[in-house]
C-alpha cells in the first residue's frame, strides 16, 4: 500500500478543486501522501500524477526539489536543529553535536529503533529564540542540552504525543472549502472582468462599461 486511501482521495479531490489548474495541488497532495505513509512513496507519486493529470516523472521532478519530501522511510520524529547564523551565535552547532551524542547518530541519519532522524537545517524563523529546533515541524525554543535530553525522553515515552504528531502530519486543522462555498475559482483561460470592477466602471462611465479597469 501507499497509493492514497479512498478517504485521502476524497480529500485530494477537494484540494484539487480549489485551484484553477490541477497541477497546482501537487505539493499539497505530496504532503497528504507523506501524512499517510510517513514518507513519500513511489506508488503515491504515481497516484498523485493520475489525480492531477501529469506523469509520475513530473511528480518526482517537483517533489525531489523540496527538502521536506522524504523519499525513503525516516524516523517517527524528525529532529531539525537550526544552525544558521542567529542560532549558531547562540550555540546551535554545539547543540547539534550534543544531539548527535545523545541520539548516537550523525546528523542526516536515523536511530536504529526508527524513532529519530536528526538533521541540521537552515533558518526556521525562530531566530530571536535561539537556539531553536523543530520536531516534525513543531517548534522548541531556546533549547539547552538538558532541555534537549528531556525532550527526547518525553518524545520516547509518548508524553509529547499531543504536541508532536508522527512525521508527515503537518497542520492538524485543514481549510475545509466545500464545493458549494467556492465563489470564484477562475481558470486563466477565462477573460472575465470581476463583477465589482465592472459595476464600478459602469457607474463611472456608463457608455464604456466593458473597457476594463483603467
Amino acid at each position: 500500500m501507499s497509493r492514497l486511501t479512498p478517504e485521502n482521495v476524497e480529500l485530494a479531490k477537494q484540494i484539487i478543486r480549489r485551484y484553477p489548474r490541477p497541477k497546482s495541488a501537487l505539493i499539497p497532495l505530496c504532503h497528504l501522501a507523506q501524512e499517510q505513509d510517513g514518507h513519500l512513496a513511489d506508488d503515491a507519486m504515481v497516484h498523485i500524477g493520475e489525480l492531477v493529470g501529469v506523469t509520475s516523472a513530473e511528480v518526482l521532478g517537483t517533489a525531489s526539489f523540496y527538502e521536506m519530501f522524504k523519499r525513503h522511510e525516516v524516523g517517527k520524529y524528525c529532529v531539525n536543529i537550526c544552525t544558521n547564523i542567529s542560532c549558531q551565535l547562540m550555540g546551535g552547532e554545539e547543540l547539534l553535536e550534543h544531539a548527535e551524542q545523545t541520539l548516537g547518530i550523525r546528523s542526516g541519519s536515523t536511530t536504529n529503533d526508527g524513532l529519530f532522524t536528526l538533521e541540521d537545517v537552515e533558518c526556521i524563523a525562530a531566530c530571536t529564540e535561539a537556539p531553536a529546533l523543530q520536531v516534525n515541524y513543531r517548534y522548541f525554543h531556546r533549547i539547552s542540552n538538558d532541555d534537549f535530553d528531556q525532550m527526547i525522553d518525553e518524545l520516547r515515552s509518548g508524553r509529547l504525543d499531543d504536541v508532536v504528531p508522527p512525521h508527515g502530519v503537518l497542520a492538524k486543522v485543514r481549510q475545509d472549502l466545500a464545493e458549494e462555498q467556492i465563489a470564484n475559482i477562475t481558470p486563466p483561460e477565462t477573460q472575465v472582468m470581476p463583477r465589482w470592477i465592472a459595476d464600478e466602471a459602469a457607474k463611472n462611465d456608463p457608455a464604456a462599461s466593458e473597457g476594463g479597469q483603467a
Binding site: 497546482s24 505539493i27 531539525n80 524563523a125 533549547i143 472549502l177 470581476p194 465589482w196 464600478e200 476594463g212
Partner: protein
C-alpha cells in the same frame, strides 16, 4: 524551554501598534478576538473599503505609501498599478515563505493574527479585482498553517470570504497553500512556479514580471504577509494617520527581529526610518544592551543576504535609503547582532553554506560559485587554507556578482567597495547575495582569515627535514609498491 513557546509581546514606544496589537492577546487569533481586541476592530476595514469602491481603495494604498516588507521595499500601491488594464483574471499571491536567515516576523503575524492577514487580502483583492488569493505559507510552519486554516474556516462561515461578501457584489476565494522546504521559493517568480506545481526555480525578468505575467502567465500581485497586514489599520484610520508614523519616505511601522548577542532578543514593531540601531540594541524596551560584558563586533542590518555593518554604523536610522546609501539593505527586518566572541570566518562560512544549500541550480555562476565559496571557507576554517584562497574567494564572488571587490592590490589603494545593489550574472538575486557576507568579512577581518591561513603554513621546513627526505629514487621505489 520546552514547548511551542512564542516571543514576548512587541513593545512600542509612543507609536500605535499597527500590526502587532494582538500579539500578546490570548485568543487574538480567533474571529471574535480579532473583532474585539487590538488597536482597531476587526473586519470593519473591509466594510469601509467596500463603501469606497475599488479605485478609491487602490488610491488610498498608493497615497499612504505602504512599502513592501518582504525585502525590496517597493510601494504596494504602485506595484498594484502595474497590472495591465483589461487583462483578466488577476491573482494575488501572499508570500508567507519567510526563510531569510535572521527573519522572524511573518510567522508571528500568521500564528498570532491570521484574521488581520485575511482582511488585508480582502482589501487587496477588492482593489485590484483579483478572483483568487493564494496564501503561500512556508511548509515547515505547521502551526501557522493551522491558525490560518482555522481563521479561513471562520471567515468563510461568517460570510467574510467567498461569494457576495457582506452582501455586496464582491466575491473572492482565499486558498491556503503550503510549501515544502526551499528558501528560493520566497523569490516571487519561484513562488509562482511552486504554486503551479513545479520545481521552485525563478523565472527570468523580463518578461516574467509577476504583475504582467505571473501565475498561469496572468497578472499577479505578490505581496509579503506583513505588507498586507498593514491594510486593516490603514483603512480603520486614515492615510494621514499612517503617514504621521515614521518618515516621509518610509511611513508607518515595521516589524524587526533583533537576534544574536543582545540581552533581550525579540520581535519589535518600530516606526520606520526614525529608530537607530543603537536604540534597538540598547534601549530596555528593545535589545536591552549587547550581552553583558561584551562589545559589538558587527551586525547584519537586513537578513543573511545583506552586507554587514560595524560599530561605526550604529547611529544610522533604520531607513531604507540611508542604509542603501551606506552599502547595505534593511531587507526583511532581520537584525543579527554579533559580539567580539564571534569568529568572522565561521559566521561567513555558515552563511556561505546556506546559499550553497539553497541555490536552485539554474544558473552556473550561482550553483558552482556558492559551492566553491563554501568549500574554500571550510578549508580555511579547518586550517587547510591556501595563501591564494582569499583572492580566490573574491574572484569567485566577482563571477557571481561583478566587482569592484577588495582584491589585495585594491586594498592597498584603499578600495574596498562592495557593489550595492549587487550586479548580477544570474537570474535572481540569491547568487549575488551569497557574496555579501564573504566580502564583508574579508574587507573588515582580513587578519582573521590570514591568521587561519598562516597557521597552516607554519609546518616546520628545515634543512634537516630535506636531508631526511627520501631521494627521488627511493620515493619512486616506495611508490611503486603502494600506488598500484
Amino acid at each position: 524551554m520546552i514547548g511551542a513557546t512564542t516571543p514576548a509581546p512587541t513593545l512600542i514606544d509612543g507609536v500605535p501598534a499597527v500590526v502587532s496589537s494582538r500579539f500578546g492577546v490570548e485568543g487574538g487569533h480567533t474571529i471574535d478576538g480579532y473583532r474585539s481586541t487590538g488597536s482597531y476592530k476587526g473586519y470593519e476595514a473591509i466594510r469601509k473599503a467596500l463603501d469606497m469602491g475599488p479605485s478609491a481603495v487602490a488610491a488610498t494604498v498608493k497615497d499612504a505609501t505602504v512599502l513592501g516588507r518582504g525585502g525590496a521595499g517597493f510601494p504596494a500601491g504602485i506595484k498594484w498599478g502595474f497590472t495591465p488594464a483589461g487583462v483578466w483574471p488577476r491573482y494575488i499571491v501572499v508570500n508567507g515563505d519567510e526563510s531569510e536567515p535572521g527573519t522572524y516576523k511573518d510567522r508571528v503575524l500568521m500564528e498570532r493574527d491570521p484574521h488581520q492577514i485575511i482582511e488585508g487580502c480582502l482589501i487587496a483583492a477588492y482593489a485590484i479585482g483579483a478572483a483568487q488569493v493564494f496564501l503561500y505559507v512556508r511548509g515547515e510552519m505547521a502551526h501557522a498553517q493551522e491558525r490560518i486554516a482555522a481563521a479561513l474556516n471562520e471567515a468563510y462561515a461568517a460570510g467574510l470570504v467567498g461569494r457576495n461578501i457582506l452582501g455586496t457584489n464582491f466575491s473572492v476565494d482565499i486558498v491556503l497553500h503550503w510549501g515544502a522546504g526551499a528558501y528560493i521559493v520566497g523569490e516571487e517568480t519561484a513562488l509562482i512556479e511552486s504554486l503551479e506545481g513545479n520545481r521552485g526555480m525563478p523565472r527570468l525578468k523580463p518578461p516574467f514580471f509577476p504583475a504582467a505575467k505571473g501565475l498561469y502567465l496572468k497578472p499577479t500581485v505578490v505581496n509579503n504577509i506583513e505588507t498586507l497586514s498593514n491594510l486593516p489599520w490603514l483603512f480603520n484610520n486614515s492615510v494621514d494617520a499612517y503617514r504621521a508614523i515614521g518618515t516621509d519616505a518610509s511611513p508607518g511601522t515595521r516589524l524587526v527581529a533583533v537576534s544574536g548577542h543582545v540581552n533581550n532578543p525579540g520581535v519589535f514593531e518600530i516606526p520606520q526610518g526614525t529608530t537607530t540601531f543603537r536604540e534597538l540594541f540598547e534601549s530596555p524596551i528593545y535589545g536591552n544592551g549587547i550581552r553583558t560584558g561584551h562589545q559589538l563586533k558587527m551586525f547584519i542590518p537586513g537578513g543573511g543576504s545583506a552586507p554587514w555593518f560595524f560599530p561605526e554604523h550604529v547611529d544610522l536610522p533604520l531607513e531604507g535609503r540611508v542604509i542603501g546609501g551606506e552599502g547595505s539593505m534593511l531587507g526583511s527586518g532581520a537584525i543579527v547582532v554579533m559580539d567580539e566572541t564571534t569568529d568572522a570566518v565561521r559566521a561567513a562560512l555558515r552563511l556561505a553554506r546556506f546559499f550553497a544549500r539553497e541555490s536552485c541550480g539554474k544558473c552556473t555562476p550561482c550553483r558552482e560559485g556558492t559551492t566553491w565559496q563554501e568549500k574554500i571557507l571550510q578549508r580555511i576554517l579547518d586550517g587547510h587554507g591556501r595563501p591564494s584562497d582569499i583572492d580566490l574567494l573574491l574572484d569567485v564572488g566577482d563571477n557571481i556578482s561583478p566587482g569592484p571587490y577588495p582584491v589585495a592590490s585594491d586594498a592597498a589603494k584603499g578600495l574596498d567597495a562592495i557593489p550595492y545593489p549587487p550586479k548580477q550574472t544570474t537570474i535572481c538575486p540569491l547568487g549575488p547575495s551569497s557574496v555579501a557576507p564573504i566580502t564583508s568579512a574579508i574587507r573588515r577581518f582580513r587578519d582573521e582569515f590570514d591568521a587561519k591561513i598562516v597557521k597552516r603554513n607554519l609546518i616546520p621546513v628545515s634543512v634537516e627535514s630535506f636531508e631526511d627526505a627520501p631521494t627521488l629514487a627511493e620515493s619512486t621505489d616506495h611508490g611503486a609498491d603502494t600506488h598500484v
